[in-house]
Subunit: 483 residues, 4 copies
């Protein structure tokens, strides 16, 4: 049963222990609770797609271990085409949900990164992490596990390392090392899609030194493991999701959560790093290379939907879409740039000796910079196309729209093109949701900030090599060194 059905997936979530809070209340069933049902639906559509002929090749692949058909997000990415398929799958995910399905993505990437890093640790240190990881992967494959990835610690004072923090729980850390496992404690922040995940793949932060060994920890846990509590973040316009009516215009959604580890026991077979701080740099390097190359697929997929929303809205406003063709071209240019630049980074990547493929560092970080800027222009263009109705969501609520006294008057005001007032309202709320509402994903800081990417670009731009080229061309004989 490696490729679960939607129903099997939902059932797996229903059987979990309630440990997620929002607005101060415990969520009983994530599948049906209004605060989480939308993000679950986003993920469920991937299981639908896996059983849909024209999307099957995107969402499933063959296990390199067993040869079985598996969900693609449980696979090792062994070559260029595998990583390109990651970007393509993400673009499709956004096309079918409009937003981020984090548990199909970050855990997958974490698993691949740890495949390389466990290889390095085992090779250098004689550990046997990779064997553990392989077993976990086999189980993930076999159960089509949706796995959220957790990198971002709460962090605390940014001028201090984990071990120097006043509040040691600002970073997840090992509080006890037992024979059969470790006990961890601390907070991870802004974890996407955790409510729809079966498990969480935890990675450490970067650049850790010896005193931070206890925070240099990588492992997996079931999302409902004892001692773990999730608190969902409050996103723009998210209380509309608790209402009826089309003000929350879609059936899909995203979430981000704080993960509070309160002395959580992790058995050895789920531990893939426990103190090897020297390898924390590689984790981030590999993670960001592939993540930032593939994230172009996400924003492009959402960009495709934004183009579509613009077309709908123009027409519902009574205007042909071609009125805005120059804007659609610019949207398309931006969309394809984040997608194509990411593909370029992948194509110019390299095979890690462990057997997984990583994208080119420089190019993937350039792509991150685009991902943090170009979609903002796409959103602005969409708002420009859509008019005032969308810019600030500027029309009455669904309740007013249907009000018995003045509802008809409002509907008659909203009707503009050759479609109904409700269609215009729904199209407007979709555009609002995509640009200034709950559908906006964290493309700026998700997976790290653009300023971090700029640092990598700087480090990977060989100024002196380029100066040597210029010097040779200009016929300059003397050395030209930094004053």
């Amino acid at each position: 049963m490696p490729v679960k059905s939607r129903e099997q997936y939902l059932e797996s979530l229903r059987q979990m222990r309630p440990n997620i809070y929002k607005f101060g209340e415990l969520i009983g069933d994530v599948v049906s609770h209004p605060a989480t049902r939308l993000v679950v639906e986003s993920h469920a559509r991937a299981f639908d797609a896996a059983h849909t002929p024209e999307k099957e090749a995107v969402f499933t692949t063959t296990s390199s271990f067993t040869g079985d058909r598996i969900m693609r997000f449980n696979s090792l990415m062994q070559n260029r085409d595998d990583v390109i398929a990651n970007a393509v799958m993400k673009r499709q995910c956004y096309r079918q949900t409009g937003t981020c399905a984090g548990a199909l993505c970050v855990g997958w990437n974490a698993m691949n990164v740890m495949w390389a890093v466990t290889y390095e640790m085992d090779r250098d240190l004689g550990t046997n992490y990779r064997e553990r990881l392989e077993k976990w992967i086999l189980r993930a494959e076999a159960n089509s596990l949706a796995v959220a990835g957790a990198l971002t610690d709460a962090k605390g004072d940014r001028s201090k390392t984990p071990s120097q923090q006043a509040n040691r729980d600002s970073n997840v850390h090992i509080t006890e090392r037992r024979k059969d496992g470790i006990v961890v404690r601390g907070a991870k922040a802004m974890i996407a899609g955790a409510a729809a995940a079966n498990e969480i793949f935890v990675l450490p932060g970067s650049g850790y030194r010896e005193p931070d060994s206890d925070s240099s920890v990588a492992f997996t846990v079931p999302r409902d493991t004892p001692g773990l509590t999730l608190v969902e973040c409050r996103r723009p316009s998210d209380c509309r999701e608790l209402e009826d009516g089309f003000d929350s215009p879609v059936e899909t959604g995203t979430t981000q959560a704080y993960l509070l580890f309160d002395d959580v026991f992790v058995p050895n077979e789920r531990v893939f790093m426990a103190g090897e701080y020297r390898y924390s740099g590689n984790i981030i390097r590999y993670f960001t290379a592939n993540y930032r190359a593939c994230i172009g697929g996400c924003v492009t997929g959402q960009g495709d939907v934004m183009v579509g929303a613009g077309v709908l809205m123009a027409r519902a406003n009574g205007l042909p879409a071609k009125t805005f063709r120059d804007k659609f071209v610019q949207m398309s240019v931006n969309n394809e740039t984040t997608f194509g630049m990411g593909i370029g980074a992948i194509a110019m990547g390299y095979a890690h000796p462990s057997g997984v493929w990583f994208a080119n560092d420089l190019m993937s970080h350039v792509n991150k910079i685009h991902v943090a800027t170009l979609p903002y222009e796409v959103k602005r263009l969409l708002q420009e196309i859509c008019g005032g109705l969308v810019e600030t969501g500027c029309f009455p609520s669904a309740k007013d729209f249907n009000h018995e006294e003045y509802g008809a008057f409002i509907q008659s005001c909203l009707k503009a093109g050759n479609v109904s007032a409700e269609t215009r309202a729904r199209a407007a709320r979709l555009a609002e949701w995509l640009t200034i509402g709950a559908g906006v994903p964290g493309c700026m800081h998700g997976g790290g900030s653009p300023d971090g990417a700029r640092l990598v670009v700087r480090a990977n731009t060989p100024l002196d090599d380029y100066a040597a080229l210029a010097r040779a061309l200009a016929g300059i004989d003397e050395e030209v060194s930094e004053p």
Copy 2:
């Protein structure tokens, strides 16, 4: 009592008939109801400022009619300095509220525009509209009236004129002409600040022809005049305003409303145009010239607050503000551009023979294009400075923040710099509110779309004159005409 106090202003609102709905319910008292109290507060701060020594000169001026001290927003703008003072006042308004206080601005501009257009009509047609207007202005001055302006009709099918619409109520129009006044009917959409207004100044749309005479109508009404119903629009994250706690982080706000005129009687002394369709073009021309020159003040004022929010947030994140100095410089460049370009448009404007000053058309529409683009970059930069907490509002709600079980854990996670977790949370919610929340004003489409502005730029760029310059320089003797 030309310069009301805050309390007098609030009292004037309390005495009005309830006729505003939101979420399907009638709002009893706009001053205290959570859906409107914030926008009222935004306006009330202008009355405070009028009595504050260091702001008095910004918010008050001398009546050109009586010589009395009056609220600036009740004055005629007779020269460059008066219009520049409009832009400066708007910047200050945004600085003290963070967002749009529409009833201090649009009605004011409408009144000035009609000063010029009534002059033209009276001159050409022998009407006596200006006398009526002067009387109304004297009353507005004397009572420090906050006046919303209503231009945007619901419009309906955009390929048709008002008279061709299937639903005649898509545009406000005269249904009956009586000896003592007119009866009007129809809808105006997206009217800013109406809930905080004492009166509404209604202007017609543009480019009307003879069959649209009944829609060529300008007048004022009390906001609670019989037959008029307001329905407030639903804006991003606006249901937070109904809650306690800092998720709605400020005490100020903005609103936009649909105005439903259901056979409203307007007595003659409040009617300033009633059928003179040929003058509808000038109304829009004059209106947009000054509005689009001065709106730079608005977005710049909000930009100033965004710079400030970035400073707060950087520090609350544990980083010195100077880390982001290049971003602050870029924010400042964008801010000052919308402000300065607008001032330039005003400085290069002209005196209308009626005695009011209008900004240069070309330059004010160029400014509109900047107003519709540069603030988006400012917002993006603010989000970049602030980190993931702001981008998608990514941290738990105030209820979770204060939860008795896990609240302390969350607070310990959120503390990063040398300020409290709550300060960091408040700064983050402010930045969210400014960039992707309820504080976002309609700078893109408010007062008309940037594509409309581009049309004006095109019409005012003399291609053939410039070609003649080029031809003379290049020594080309023959004519070079359009193929």
Copy 3:
């Protein structure tokens, strides 16, 4: 001898008939004449590189016909890696010359395009063009031929087709069809690197109809074939190339020429299309796909040199390069974008049934748009880094620099950092050459205009498919069609 040496290449040029003019004079020996020696040197460096161990793999490859080692620019590009290698080779070309070496590139691309189109014509029409082409390729391989490519006709009145032109010679066309070949006549404009080419590969324009059959012609000729005259274009600051001294700062260069075909006979074995107008569309489609994907390599290679020139100039101005690190990061982002987006287009391309690989249409045209814009920002940034010396080439000529009376004074003025005045002057002249001098290549319009690319982007952005995605998400049941 498939991989010629520099000397063999130069000798092959020396043996050609003089048929190139500039400034009204016939150029005797292109290898030594100051108007052409620089472009010849640009090409000669590729032959050096082919014999340089660390560059050999970039500039040579294995013939798919003979298995011999050949110059890469004579090869068929059969898969993704082959086309990527094209982009990489171009980047390296620019790194070692600073500018465009057209005869290493356009003819190569033309040959690959015709491999596909001759396949299609032979398949559909029973012609045997491909056999002819294969023979020609074998000879090109065997002789390491540098081949310029000629697409752009002089065109005449753009509202008319070739057959409608008043001057039929505005487009190259067949004037006579003989048993043993064809006679062609007319002009091709702006042909890069022809002076350094052994042969010319001529392709037709696009979208030809039946009456334009005579212009639907593809063939090769030796550069010095009887009846062909070349007139070199006048480029910025090109008369410096006729002088001594460092005002023309480099030993490399580029040229563009007008090709005047005055009844040139082309024997059948060199004719690969002669009237099959229906295939002219595919020629342009395939040509632009690969060309616009790979051209990112060119502008990136020049961008690398621009980064280097900025480093040199900063230091020669007395400032550490790190002063400008943000500008270098932005230059690098722009450079890698044109490169990486092109690689992405290639990676997402497809195998043509003839056995060659073509890049993705949409993505390669998006890249063209970047190629036409991003390098302009790179140049601006370089000028910003370099200071006034570079912006307008603002310092005295080499003659004045070395003047016996005031030369020493000038040199003392120019010395700023810890290098000599001459080094500063040379660095400045290099930056001038790259940004506003003879080194500027035609990245905007070379290979077609960005507006043409925008048309392709528009045609390849499926607005209705994207609208369907949006409609599904928004739960809109009714059709939303173009008004």
Copy 4:
């Protein structure tokens, strides 16, 4: 005779001592020598304009001293309108010359700056500089003097002050103080329009300290004063100016020179500062405020011509100008922004107690940033409109165009629209000249670098004041200080 005629102006130049070199040779008569005649023509057109009814008001004004009609560039700018008139005059200058006429501008600004600074020095130190300056101004007015301004020293090592330089002549400095005057020595670099000037107004650099007293010197000299030698800079494509034919397409031009002061005696009546280093900061502050506000007029005037050149070229290419209307709108937006933002800076400026008006510091430096970026986009758009002919000047020289053998063939190739081939060629060379040729002015670094402007923007953006606004809005009680 305060308003000279063209002929009187030219005669005044002819009577000067030859002391200008270019390409190693002394220029006998600047009026007729091909290296300088174009810049002289640029200036002469201002004298024509002063006698042309429709331009008279732009180029002349009334002396505040004598009440006589004088050339505007000899006047004190006493209020907003006077400084706005400066910007307007510059725009007109560029419209009639296409490029920079430096001696109508920089000396004028220097004179106004020194009016304020001599006031300050006299007030504080009891000197009588202003009396000297007034006398000089009266003479300048009476003789319609064209005055170049010289600020930029050669500078040398940028990490050192003037007094620390190895080569003391890197900065102009006093070598001897006599009873009747001073002797100065050293080099000024990149001085615009000096060849067309009657006199030079020399100002010191900025931020000088006590040891740099000898470089804190302001004075005027005749352009041909004994001991002063000028060497003209080599600009892009400037040797075309030595040729016949339309490759140098215009009759106007600009120059920049190095000024070598070889122990030049300056009599006391021409000395306006001689050691008062504390005032050097104000000189730069006042200078840049007005200069950077008004320079928008320059780039806008050139932008107007670029719009015109685009119109001509489109038509000569056979296309209606309206094909490119969106590009023309964007060019116009950019043009009006540099103009309008500068006017805004002037309008928000202040009256100096000496009686002259200075623009707002923050806003004028924001404008400088735009002046250093927006025109680059205008140029790129012009190149995009014009096609390959312009981008790299890509067509044969005038000599080839008129060649007896193939000239007719080339002309037949170049004819595209309904104008002659020569008209198309002339239009193309004009666009080349404007964008990548000798007409490009130094808008990036002229009057200081954009990075310098960014520093001023940073210093004038009150981060803490803005943080206080944000803090008040967000209801944050505690202090939020820099970590």
